[in-house]
């Protein structure tokens, strides 16, 4: 269906000579754009419908006084479906701690939430295939579970700002949405996300189409191929100061992979960009002492680096 439309636009509307390089590029661009935007709309809508059944308030209750490990797994999974934006990181953190969610479990949630999300899923799926998307989601969850578990084991409660423990959290009664409101919410959310990411997506697809011919395919192999031991840690270090959502990073990732960076290194880079960011650290500084922020960055980086090596070894 998308192919027919892409062919129609290319050859009938734009009247480009079939068989030329330009025709191929335009055809590819229209087809891929349609496919990815269709997937984005369907999946974001579906995920936001699921999300409307979850709220940080409910997630907090589910995780309250959970045992470690099981709690870390649940928190990482709930991180995917609980609506969360890093601007709410402080109230969410305080709310969790106050409700008796263990510190390590809270961290699993905070790590998983920005890293594992539907936009990353769709874009990786649309541009690299479902296997890459599945690997990203699975390893993202593992990084969140493992990092949170280790932070929990280290018993770092004293590195949380004291006032967090003295905070009195009030009770609020948020009225549950009815089904019409939920659909309305999902439509709005889909619009909002599309509004934020469409430009990145178009750029990614455009680059993808244009780059095929230019720059040698193995341009990066020597620097960032499987055999370079330092490629993964360097990719992770580069990713920390870069702050972007999953959509923003996809064009870069696409180029890197196209030009020979190995899969494990690319995944590690993407995780580091989405999970570790300076703005979020500055926000979290309100509730965490600098030492805990440093430990947090350290543990997550190590977990991501291990993931990168693992995939470079097995893929």
């Amino acid at each position: 269906m998308f192919q027919t439309f892409a062919d129609y636009m290319t050859y009938e509307v734009f009247k480009i000579e079939p068989g030329t390089q330009l025709a191929g590029a335009v055809d590819f661009f229209i087809y891929d754009s349609l496919k990815i935007f269709f997937m984005l709309i369907v999946i974001i809508f579906f995920v936001s419908m699921i999300r409307s059944y979850f709220s940080p308030e409910r997630t907090k209750q589910l995780l309250s006084h959970k045992r470690e490990f099981l709690g870390n797994i649940m928190a990482s999974l709930l991180g995917i479906v609980t609506p969360f934006c890093s601007c709410s990181a402080v109230p969410v953190f305080i709310g969790f701690v106050e409700a008796g969610v263990p510190l390590g479990v809270t961290f699993s949630f905070l790590i998983s939430s920005p890293m594992v999300n539907e936009v990353a899923l769709v874009l990786l799926w649309g541009m690299f295939g479902w296997k890459v998307a599945a690997i990203y989601i699975t390893t993202g969850l593992l990084v969140a579970i493992a990092s949170g578990y280790v932070i929990g084991k280290l018993k770092l409660e004293h590195l949380v700002e004291e006032y967090v423990y003295q905070m009195k959290v009030g009770q609020s009664e948020i009225v549950e949405m009815n089904i019409t409101q939920k659909i309305h919410y999902a439509i709005n959310y889909t619009k909002e996300i599309l509004g934020k990411v469409w430009l990145y997506v178009v750029v990614a697809i455009g680059i993808g189409g244009a780059i095929h011919g230019y720059a040698p395919e193995d341009f990066l192999v020597a620097y960032a191929g499987k055999d370079n031991f330092f490629a993964v840690p360097i990719a992770v270090l580069l990713g920390v100061p870069l702050y972007s959502n999953a959509a923003g990073i996809i064009p870069i990732v696409y180029v890197l992979m196209e030009k020979g960076m190995s899969m494990g290194t690319v995944l590690a880079f993407m995780m580091s960009v989405t999970a570790l960011s300076f703005p979020e650290m500055i926000i979290l500084r309100n509730v965490l002492k600098p030492k805990l922020i440093a430990i947090f960055i350290g543990i997550v980086s190590v977990a991501i680096i291990c993931t990168g090596y693992l995939f470079n070894a097995i893929l």
Partner: protein, 77 residues
Amino acid sequence: MMKIEILGMGCQKCSNLMDATKKAAAELNIEAEFVKVEDIKKIMSYGVMTTPALVVDGVVKVSGKIPSVEEIKALLQ
């Protein structure tokens, strides 16, 4: 006079919600005092975990999203 508070630690969404609420109040000819609440302790005391949130006369009406002006009008009446 109605007291309308917008809770949030100074993000873009908070000022969007403030604008939408002011518009809704103006359309309904409601006279209200608008307060921006950025202190985390105060925010937490309302039991709000997601910002921005809209509080009318001490009652949390909306949390974690920006409703349309029409929806806010319904909440203010």
